[in-house]
Amino acid sequence: MNAQVPFTAAEMMTVAASRLLRNGDVCFVGIGLPSAAANLARLTHAPGVVLIYESGPIGAKPDVLPLSIGDGSLAETADTVVSTSEIFRYWLQGGRVTVGFLGAAQIDRFANINTTVIGDYAHPQVRLPGAGGAPEIAACAGKVILVLRQSARAFVERVDFITSVGHLDGGESRNRLGLPGQGPVAVVTDLCLMVPDAVTRELTVTHLHPGVGAENVRAATGWKLRFADAVKETPTPTDLELDTLRQLQRRTALAHGRAPEA
């Protein structure tokens, strides 16, 4: 049953992202929004989803959202904890991860990701935190789902720096790189859901979240955005989704003294 109560755009984003995970997925989880969405999926329709965090926990089932990628709650609830080098070599590069769930500071029309610098690399306007595990996730996870807030600053024609490759220059260009993973299959924002076009690999809006118009999305995008022929409305969050998400965030706020992002 869909929710009668109001929900925020951030909640819609997290719920929409969580729906993209399947029960059998093995998900390599980035911190923040991806972690909230992945845990929401685990607590609702995908109880069997396996969550892997880059710090080493495999099969983490945290009761509250971690504030950092190596929180104790991840280790305590995991099936096992291995070294960080093993996580990257055996589990991610080894081809055991079906979905990589990532955030980004900047993405472009081919879903390339920038988390390195705004401006010139040698003389950056803003020095961002850097790659983290994203280049390896982008290369090796079976597929990649991106989740981030939409704005014209974040959604740019061409990223200043490709930290982690998406569909590169579109078309067959990613395939030619010979990477094991198929790359981004969806970008979920607080406004809409986009997927790469089957041929050009350009991001294309397929779903608008309830109450969002195409013009809102265009205004929050730094390129001339494509829309699918028949754009649908994202189903509103169900009571179960919304309740579960809010309880998760309440528990998290209680445990950490504050709510994490999303």
Binding site: L67, S68, A122, A131
Partner: protein, 287 residues
């Protein structure tokens, strides 16, 4: 052979100006006490290696200890930027900082290669990424069997590795558990290793296949209870998330950062006094 000694003595004898230093710990068991001691002893021109620089390197960079940083993710986890790192990169304060950056998988591989006494590691990273265009530390090679193109990274071989662990026995055998990060690899890749521990016990009472660093690969073991604060030690204490948040304001401008370092590190004679001063500050705020 591990010597059981004070942290001050260990840093005095084992960390030298110009050294490459890897202080590891992935969110968990970050060796903050040792980082403070390096600042307190005013080490200079260090090449700092760490997957996730975190507050520990933000402090050391702001305090002027570093000339170069080898890293893969430099942020305040769950909070935002590392302001001292950004100030060094964006404005050269207190002096310019050379960066060598990697992805996590790649840099953890580089530690594995170092521990294995190999000059490089191989991975399926970086095709399509701009990182190789801005780094001489990422190159591509061909598989001699399949012809596939793979990324290569030079191994990390630090002069000193510094980690924090839960326990050591009196011989200096070290036991750690929980999130292990790349600490074992960092110690094995390094020429010298300092380990601070929560406690020194008669018997480790380790379980089968536990992560143990034998005393003969460690240079110094120092008992420093709480030495991972504000990160955490599984089984001992929790992460101080409030401190991570508070750091954002402390580090945002140079003056407040310098005042904090002066009061908490340079004017304290060790980690015990640091903890006392920190506690007084917290008490004052609450009042």
């Amino acid at each position: 052979m591990a010597e059981l000694t004070s942290l001050r003595a260990a840093v005095e004898s084992l960390v030298r100006d110009g050294d490459s230093v890897a202080m590891e710990g992935f969110t968990h068991l970050i060796p903050f006490a040792a980082g403070h001691e390096v600042i307190r002893q005013r080490r200079k021109n260090l090449v700092l290696v760490r997957m996730t620089p975190d507050l520990i390197y933000d402090q050391m960079i702001g305090a002027g200890c570093a000339r170069k940083l080898i890293f893969s993710w430099g942020g305040n986890p769950g909070v935002g930027s590392l302001h001292r790192l950004r100030d060094a990169v964006e404005h050269g304060w207190p002096h310019p900082l050379e960066l060598e950056e990697h992805g996590h998988g790649d840099l953890s591989n580089a530690y594995v290669a170092g521990a294995s006494n190999l000059p490089f590691a191989v991975s399926r990273d970086y095709a399509g990424s701009d990182l190789p265009h801005h780094s001489d530390a990422i190159r591509f090679i061909e598989c001699p069997f399949t012809g596939e193109r793979l990324a290569a990274v030079p191994s990390v071989r630090p002069d000193v590795a510094v980690i924090h662990a839960q326990k050591a026995d009196r011989k200096g055998n070290v036991l750690l558990w929980g999130i292990l990060g790349v600490q074992k690899e960092a110690v094995l890749a390094a020429r010298r290793a300092i380990v601070t521990v929560e406690e020194i016990v008669d018997e480790l009472e380790a379980w089968p296949n536990a992560c143990i660093l034998p005393h003969w690969i460690v240079s110094a073991v120092c008992r420093v209870p709480g030495g991972a604060h504000p990160s955490y030690a599984h089984g001992y204490y929790e992460r101080d998330n409030l401190f991570y948040q508070a750091w954002d304001a402390i580090s945002r401008d140079r003056e407040s950062f310098l005042a904090w370092v002066k009061r908490h590190i340079l004017e304290t004679d060790g980690f015990e006094e640091f903890k006392r001063v920190l506690q007084e500050g917290v008490a004052k705020e609450v009042r």
